[in-house]
């Protein structure tokens, strides 16, 4: 009985919500769907800020809500990061951080003040007033404040959507580090799929009508090319890679994905560490027979596992890399004309070509 089990049913105004899902006890679960599909409402229901009658919520061993009980919001150990930072303007940054920590009433907090200040890079801001901070700084304080409330479940409602591109890029690394350090489940709501690809381990896909369309591990859902995810503007596969080698002479790193190897320009981090690599379907081209004398760095033998026509002129192809385990999947988007000209079939052996420079850009 671990993780989270939730069912929310009811109406918010005229909008019907009927949703049931489970979440693993660790890792980031992305909640993704079009605007107005009820993502924020789901988070509010979990936090106890909105009450729908026919609902059930269990977090770990504790039932927070069922037909008879409703645990009020201030008794639910959640951390909630809102779309806007919502810092308390009459308190300093430090007092904002301490607000939830004091009320968590624990002598030995699992998430302590000093490490959190380090983690979110807040040392220089502590004495300042929230009104004197930039948008990105505010959101970092808000995340720190939510963590210090010692949550058993962290809820993040599009924490980057109100920020400009620079502020987003400033915060994303903090968030990536976060999911590895925390041993609690995180729900991350977004309508920007690139954030989900960078941060989420699991995914719950919500339809326009407020229902769960698909749920599961991120990679499994990305590989399911029949889902509407495949029709998004920029389909991609997310791989967890281990940095195997770095060649300083060519400034070239070797990544290992379940036995398959990629060469990517640039030094990504220490050898032996793992990383997320996003490979856009549009960067992967297919060729029958091994090419000779190509400038393309990565030419990998693969097998066509599935194919799906995403538009009148485009096919999305799911590839399994040869000699590697089932982790090593790629998506390739090609024109329907190419598919027909090469007379490709499911089960065919092909070579997938990815330019190293394309991988360096999308990293």
């Amino acid at each position: 009985m671990n993780g989270v089990e939730a069912r929310f049913k009811g109406k918010i105004g005229a909008f019907p919500l009927d949703i049931a899902f489970t979440m693993p006890p660790r890792g980031v679960t992305g909640l993704f769907g079009p605007s107005g599909c009820g993502k924020t409402t789901i988070l509010r229901c979990i936090a106890g800020l909105t009450a729908l009658d026919r609902s059930f919520l269990r977090v770990g061993e504790e039932v927070w809500q069922d037909a008879k009980h409703f645990l009020p919001a201030h008794k639910r150990p959640v951390g909630y990061v809102f779309q806007e930072p919502r810092l308390f303007p009459h308190l300093s940054v430090l007092d904002n951080l301490r607000y939830g920590l004091r009320r968590a009433r624990t002598k030995t907090p699992a998430i302590a003040l000093e490490p959190t200040i380090d983690l979110m890079g807040l040392h220089a801001l502590l004495r300042r007033s929230p009104t004197a901070l930039s948008g990105g700084e505010c959101q970092r304080v808000a995340i720190g404040r939510a963590l210090l409330a010692q949550p058993r479940l962290l809820l993040m409602d599009e924490p980057l959507s109100a920020l400009d591109r620079d502020a987003k890029n400033e915060i994303l690394p903090y968030l990536e580090g976060l999911s590895e350090r925390l041993s609690i489940p995180v729900i991350y709501v977004s309508h920007d799929f690139t954030e989900i690809e960078r941060l989420a381990d699991h995914l719950i896909l919500i339809s326009r009508h407020g229902q769960v369309q698909a749920a599961g591990a991120l990679r499994t859902l990305l590989a399911d090319i029949s889902l509407p995810l495949a029709r998004m503007p920029e389909p991609a596969m997310v791989l967890t890679v281990v940095i195997e080698h770095y060649d300083a002479a060519y400034d070239l790193a070797t990544y290992n994905v379940g036995g398959a190897r990629f060469l990517v320009p640039g030094q990504p981090g220490a050898v032996g560490t793992s990383q997320r690599l996003r490979v856009r379907a549009s960067d992967v081209s297919l060729i029958k027979g091994a090419p000779q004398n190509s400038s393309v760095l990565n030419i990998l033998p693969a097998r066509i596992l599935a194919v799906h026509g995403t538009s009148a002129n485009q096919m999305l192809v799911l590839l399994g890399l040869e000699g590697a385990d089932s982790e090593a999947r790629l998506l390739s988007s090609i024109t329907r004309k190419s598919w027909d000209t090469l007379s490709l079939q499911i089960g065919d052996h092909v070579f997938a070509q990815i330019k190293g420079m394309a991988l360096a850009e999308s990293r």
Binding site: L49, H74, F82, F88, Y99, G100, R103
Partner: protein
């Protein structure tokens, strides 16, 4: 004249203190409640603004007198009547100035919105805790404004005080009544001095409230 000055300041201070304690929770409830009862209470609280002060004073005189509905309650404290007493003046002044205290505070609470209180709840603050740690500090501009207006309004009141307090020197004779008596007895010099002081005081009050509002709106914007 000095006993009247002291008495007036005393009445205004006690009235303002009582109003902060009564008016702040009342304003909070009026700002947050969506029930019809809140609309009714809002109307009742606003009545003293339009009601002739003598009307209000007359009702209070009857209510607090020896044959009023509170007579048996008063007898528990060994009192026969609150009419023509300082306590009676405070009760009258509190009711008369209630809208001047409640309305600015209620508006300040409304301006805070739900967001900071929801955040406080997700940070484990009970509703009472959030009221004191978030709502009151964020509404402090409104509370200051309400306090100053009530204080000034109490100093200037005449009709209610005359009805319920009478005109007992040193006990219920406040400045506005002294002024009235001065004019009645044609002591023009006294009347000029007193009126000039009241005018200056009123001017300072208005400037002070303006400055407070400007400062608090700049602070949290």
């Amino acid at each position: 004249m000095w006993p009247a000055v002291v008495l007036t300041l005393e009445l205004a201070s006690v009235t303002t203190a009582v109003l902060i304690l009564v008016g702040t929770p009342l304003a909070w409830w009026l700002a947050r409640s969506k029930s019809w009862a809140a609309d009714v209470i809002t109307t009742i609280v606003a009545l003293p603004i339009v009601l002739p002060p003598t009307t209000l004073g007359f009702y209070l005189l009857v209510a607090l007198g020896p044959y009023g509905p509170f007579a048996s309650l008063l007898s528990l404290f060994g009192l026969r009547s609150l009419a023509f007493s300082f306590t009676g003046l405070v009760i009258g002044s509190v009711i008369y100035s209630l809208p001047f205290m409640v309305q600015p505070i209620r508006n300040a609470f409304r301006a805070i919105g739900d967001a900071p209180l929801e955040v406080a709840a997700t940070l484990r603050a009970s509703p009472l805790d959030a009221f004191f740690s978030i709502a009151v500090p964020l509404a402090q501009g409104g509370i200051f404004t309400g306090a100053i207006l009530s204080f000034a309004h109490t100093i200037g009141e005449f009709g209610v005080v005359l009805m319920i307090g009478g005109d007992i020197p040193g006990k219920t004779e406040v400045l506005s009544i002294v002024l009235f008596n001065d004019v009645e007895t044609m002591q023009w010099n006294n009347a000029y001095t007193l009126s000039a002081c009241m005018l200056l005081f009123a001017f300072i009050v208005v400037v002070a409230t303006t400055l407070i509002e400007r400062r608090s709106s700049r602070r949290f914007s």
